[in-house]
Symmetry: D2
Subunit: 289 residues, 4 copies
């Protein structure tokens, strides 16, 4: 944590904390989230994943699109069909939760443990997906910055953009909220085309507002906005603020439903498979209205 | 579908249907589900999973507990920690959704397609997890049959038990509901000890009531109640009624919260990773109150 | 075994046999094989395999060539580098041994066992790679049919071709030999181009000569020479004669060395990893001169 | 390479070398190896591996022995049976070749390249299994130190033991040879029982004699003979001398055959699957007499 000019939450919730900014989701926040559920309409924020088959055949295709999930159809010997899947937990084509231990600041992991102790060949012992095991339920807010089309290539999203969007969409980001940000770009970078991305200024704003969880369609710019500094969302948000990220969400359906209902807040249920000890895990976040 | 005495829904929603009884979840049902969300309290219905490491070491343990998830810590070469997981989609230690194509009746899959066409080496082409891709949101009802302790070994749950529980818990199972049933037994059979299980009579009752989805902690008895017939929940419920199952849920936390709140209905959000074409998939169902 | 006109060895070495034509490799054959080793020159008959990385990164390539081997670099936490590999045992880009249980004739596996008993979800219980566990050592003979270039597209190799090659190359295929056949084609079929292949007549000749093991660069034609009948090498050779195949060998180096040494016989050492219970396994056959 | 008192071969064969002591296997050595093949008798030096099934069933066993190989039986939809295997390349229950890049000395890999350049998330770029791709053929010598039973727990094998064995067995280790050493212990350490192991003195002797490849049944002692220093075989032999190791060989069959034939030299064929870019790979070494 060499740079004193960057914000961090190391130590804020004690030396053994594994939740980071999820601590900001209080009973009161959850009650406000519950109050958002009135119609029974809902929408998924996850990218659809077409698995890549592991075909054991000389006639399999010779080239395949890389998928976050590989599927193996099992021989069962009976009338039941079953399969296994091999999952790449961090993948741009997969909407996934980043655990705090995914990121190291220097050789330390939040809130100051040596990475070599936390990350072992046998799994992650602290600040892993165990923190998400029972699911995360909070109020979500969509700041749609792409109502008029995708943000320009290379654009740096700032706190000004967020506040302008709050005014335009008549919604307010409050402590404990999940902040969903739509830049209008696909999660997978296209080689040769600089993406827009979240700036350090925008992450500082999340810190001031008490954002508990951030879910952008396109988070850190690629190539980086500032190649010499830490990446804003992963390096500062995830690593220093201990704010979990939902990487690579798909937001077109959410944006359409918010526009239809003229409402940009909702209950967000984030419940990945209840697997402990991972660095990240695919998730299908659900916004309930 | 040789046995005309058994109920089925093949053809009820057309020859191309992939949803089965999920068709019963109408806008009205979802509105009722939304009305259940008032406090922001929530609980997970998933068993916790400790993954089994694939340790590449001569000093790895020589014996391991089998886990539905195997974890591979990746070498990244940078300060980021990442991993992959190998998932057995149908596993008694994993709370998972069974897709309709998981089960065959004779050599056919709902709603009457040849299994050999539906299940291929490259994946499942009909009635797979694609049906769950955007998540399932409906009203859930817990019928807790184990308030006074686990049901006896070998016990066959009947419609009478369900109706008695409805009266006792002051709740009613209605069309489109997710029926959550607690027998008080762990999902993993213990060798040598007959489990209780759901009877054919109980599944017929689900059909009459219009249950959209069934989530028992212990579903089909092991050994089978009727070794000569189809298994009630998998063979009749999943295979013939086309009623998706959430296999192997963990219900102690839900039972405790229902008792505390004196309320046995809730909104149930069932949102597995958005992976298409599988026979089943781990899920972390969330009950919202 | 419905067709009495096709040759088979079912029952020839008893009801419990797992070796098939490997029984023809006698001490005398091995002594002859040993006599071939005089120079210390050797050559591999295996295709090189470039594994496909399972990269856990948003910046991984979006399209990859399918490889029989996927490599995962492990995080070890120490100065040792280690990895795992996921291997597709039957793959046209991988030189591999086919176990007898790989093939079914009707619903039976050599020498007449029900496939459902032999092939289980937990592995293969009879005529698996266990038969190759200690390695196979015998005399090898190369019949190079492509000295003047690859055989024509769609060409059917016959016994006449074999006998003509014996005369031309001054070599004789004897009982217990491994027959290595070079058609001059790559193992991987090119879509749209019919390959040449081994005919039924040629397989009958192998039977008459007592070939113990067959290793062609391009074995069964694709598309099949006779779409209505069993494939010559897999259906008749592997399935009925119980003659193990080394699928997809690479023979250019062997052909060059044989031409240089003016000798088409050698000792062939076929020693795959000593893994029991598989349907097939990658192997690196070595010809010693 | 901080310690000048330890022997090393870094730079001996140039800055781009990937073969290490395999360079010592000259045509003359191979001719001598060929001269050993006279009878056609042969024996495997590999441990048998029973794969561990990935059974996708609620009735799978709850505890399993860890195996270096996991087997997945595939659904093929036709009468062909096929499978995949997931292989842990470095495993005490698997006879495997260690590539030079498996070991780092400080943060460098033979012959002085930064480990971070050589070992990448996408595979190994230098001194990997590519060096073994076409197989290794050389003269092998067995020094059986366990003729009268296993060596004592904690015993340190020295050059004196090797020279005494040479006299007793009437065999001589010469430049380019593969040295096979039998301590009479299983490859898998038994918790709580110190194994014997190869000493630094013995590795210095290998260096003086020009050993090209070393294959011990029990190599580096566990716990280490000298916890403060580098492990003799891996740290000095593999890492500094660039002498590939065949880890975890099984030598009882070889010892019996050598005793029967009263001959302790042979041709050793070491031909793992021809997979490039790995840190190690299972192999079935074959000794031919």
């Amino acid at each position: 944590m060499a740079d004193p000019d960057l914000p961090d939450n190391w130590g804020r919730w004690g030396a053994d904390d594994e939740l980071g900014t999820l601590n900001l989701i209080t009973d009161d926040v959850r009650a406000q989230a519950a109050a958002e559920v009135r119609t029974g309409r809902w929408v998924s924020l996850a990218q659809p994943i077409t698995p890549n088959p592991m075909i054991s055949s000389p006639f399999a295709p010779t080239t395949v699109d890389v998928s976050p999930v590989q599927q193996l159809m099992s021989y069962t010997g009976v009338g039941v069909s079953a399969d296994l899947m091999l999952v790449t937990n961090h993948h741009a084509k997969s909407t996934h939760l980043d655990a705090l231990a995914h990121w190291s600041t220097g050789d330390q992991v939040y809130p100051g443990r040596p990475r070599a102790e936390v990350v072992t060949a046998g799994g992650v012992t602290h600040a892993s997906t165990s923190a998400f095991a029972a699911g995360i339920v909070t109020r979500g807010v969509l700041l749609d910055l792409a109502v008029d089309g995708p943000l320009p290539s290379g654009y740096a999203v700032t706190s000004h953009d967020f506040e302008e969007a709050e005014r335009r969409l008549d919604v307010e980001v409050r402590p404990g909220d999940a902040l969903v940000v739509r830049l209008g770009w696909p999660a997978t970078p296209v080689p040769g085309t600089p993406t827009p991305g979240i700036s350090v200024d925008a992450v500082r704003w999340m810190d001031r507002r008490g954002v508990a969880l951030c879910a952008p369609d396109r988070g850190d710019a690629f190539p980086p906005l500032d190649p010499g500094g830490p990446s804003p969302l992963h390096g500062i948000g995830l690593g220093r603020l201990a704010m979990p990220l939902i990487d690579a969400v798909a937001l077109d359906d959410l944006a359409a439903l918010c526009a239809e209902l003229e409402r940009y807040s909702f209950l967000l249920s984030v419940a990945p498979p209840r697997v402990h000890g991972l660095t990240g895990i695919p998730v299908n976040p659900v916004a309930l209205f």
